[in-house]
């Protein structure tokens, strides 16, 4: 536990020394404020302009879904960048031969930030939701979002170096593509995105069925186990 705490403190020091990464951690709050206050304002403007009763309102849940994956994505992006920097400096391999070990490393670099992101997401969804998310759904979405964040971080961390990691970070945004499927893609076709945990998160919200969110968690666990198995050998050679 001591080693995990120390290594997490090192993560915070990394954040403190990198303004870009520090700012990235505040992006979810900025988005939450924009979603909560500007989207209804925009809805008011466009509905009065087009003289219709609603345009954006049916998609309010979609904004909440994006909010649920945003904090974990940002926190994990920062964590993944630090992992890549440590890989570039051969530090990951060294940390594996300290009392921190492989597990401790992953817990301190991914587990702890994701734990914090769950708390942040629950707070953001409670205060800034647009579609009145019930508390049970809020918790499930926050955990599922965090699991997706870990997947994103591991995919980025599998890159050979920081530069390659930046490129794969852009690709990992595709992991969130599943969110829009239940809202915009026809029933049969939308299942093409079913391997993505985000698809089942959105389906759970869209059909108001929590079981889908649990399915999203199960699917995320499979992704995480698969990626961790690939991460460790790639790091230790």
């Amino acid at each position: 536990m001591k080693a995990i705490k120390s290594n997490f403190r090192q993560f915070l020091l990394f954040l403190k020394n990198d303004n870009m990464m520090f700012a990235a951690c505040f992006a979810p709050l900025i988005c939450a404020l924009l979603f909560r206050f500007d989207v209804p304002l925009l809805e008011k403007l466009v509905t009065s302009y087009f003289n219709v009763s609603e345009i954006l309102t049916p998609y309010y849940a979609l904004f909440d879904l994006f909010l649920s994956v945003l904090s974990p994505a940002m926190f994990c992006y920062v964590a993944a960048m630090m992992i890549l920097e440590e890989k570039d400096d051969h530090i990951v391999e060294y940390l594996f031969v300290t009392p921190l070990g492989k597990q401790g490393y992953l817990v301190s670099r991914l587990g702890v930030p994701e734990g914090i992101s769950i708390a942040v997401t629950i707070i953001l969804l409670s205060f800034f939701n647009l579609s009145k998310v019930p508390i049970a759904a809020n918790i499930l979405l926050s955990v599922a979002g965090a699991a997706q964040g870990i997947i994103t971080a591991l995919i980025i961390a599998l890159s050979s170096n920081k530069l390659e990691g930046m490129a794969s970070a852009k690709l990992t945004s595709l992991m969130s593509l599943g969110i829009i499927a239940p809202f915009f893609i026809q029933k049969g076709t939308q299942y093409l995105l079913s391997p993505l945990p985000s698809f089942w998160m959105a389906k759970g919200v869209y059909e108001n069925n929590y079981l889908y969110m649990v399915l999203s968690l199960v699917l995320s666990s499979i992704w995480i186990v698969f990626l961790i198995k690939r991460f460790a050998p790639k790091t230790t050679g």
């Binding site: 391999e93 031969v97 921190l100």
Partner: protein
């Protein structure tokens, strides 16, 4: 302290490390010698618990390496060949962070920095360090928690003669404290000077395993070469053990007419080539 029995490992279907067995006692320095790609680093990874999918048994500090828990790492210290330091942090910050990972923290950071001549650069960022300075810092990083077993991968690589001497003296000092040290190297001079025993590794197999002295003595014999003047400068040689039978040499000594005389012994590298048909580099 270390007992390895029939260890085999493979990255692919083809075996990479084959049926390796050896043991190292407390307070001993054991060297793995072999050319690049021979399996030395892989063997070190097995012994440090980084590779756990090996066959056979590798017991380090009383713990089977593939079933180690994290307290295992309180007992071992590892110095990789390459720098494993945060480039953006100072030397002191690096040492403070790495020492904070351990329960045992008996070593004073200032004393360690002083021992390798880095005390004046302790607050300099590691990115501003030379390769040699990084090597020295990397080395003392492995001593922070006063481990009983040290794994050193090419500890003198990239060091100038003065710093190489300093590093070797520090290694010998750790041995005097009773630590077991495993050195992975292809530097035969370091191995001869530092190691109590060495193992020659080629293509994932141990070809020979003994003290450098025994290996040298078992495979070769020291020679005497001398020169003298007789219708121009002449050179002659004989085996050291047959020196009493060389009447010419005896006569030259008696007449004080030797121009030069020197002895030469086979090196560990000669023995390595003799046993494996390959060079160490």
């Amino acid at each position: 302290m270390i007992k390895v029995k029939n260890v085999s490992f493979s990255y692919t279907k083809k075996p990479f490390v084959k049926d390796i067995s050896f043991s190292v006692g407390g307070g001993e320095i054991f060297g793995f010698l072999g050319p690049s790609g021979a399996g030395k680093t892989t063997l070190q990874k097995i012994l440090t618990g980084l590779i756990s999918t090996y066959d056979g048994s590798a017991v380090v500090a009383g713990m089977e390496c593939k079933r180690h828990n994290n307290s295992f790492y309180e007992k071992i210290g590892v110095d990789f060949e390459f720098s494993t330091l945060y480039e953006k942090l100072t030397a002191r910050q690096n040492l403070q962070f790495f020492s904070s990972l351990y329960r045992n923290q008996p070593a004073s950071i200032d004393n360690l920095l002083e021992a390798v001549g880095l005390h004046n650069d302790a607050d300099k960022k590691v990115s501003d360090y030379s390769k040699g300075m990084k090597s020295r810092l990397n080395f003392i990083k492995s001593l922070l928690h006063d481990p009983s077993i040290l794994f050193l991968d090419e500890p003198t690589s990239g060091l100038d003669p003065t710093n190489s001497r300093l590093m070797k003296d520090m290694i010998l000092e750790e041995k005097r404290k009773g630590k077991t040290i495993i050195i992975t190297t292809h530097n035969m001079h370091d191995a001869t000077e530092l190691c109590d025993k060495v193992a020659f590794i080629v293509n994932g197999e141990i070809r020979a395993w003994d003290s450098p002295h025994n290996l040298i003595m078992s495979k070769g014999a020291a020679k005497i070469t001398y020169s003298y003047f007789e219708n121009g400068e002449q050179t002659s040689s004989c085996l050291l053990k047959e020196i009493s039978e060389d009447t010419k040499l005896q006569m030259l000594i008696k007449d004080n007419s030797l121009l030069s005389i020197h002895s030469s012994e086979p090196t560990l590298n000669d023995i390595f080539i003799d046993l494996t048909g390959r060079t160490l580099l």
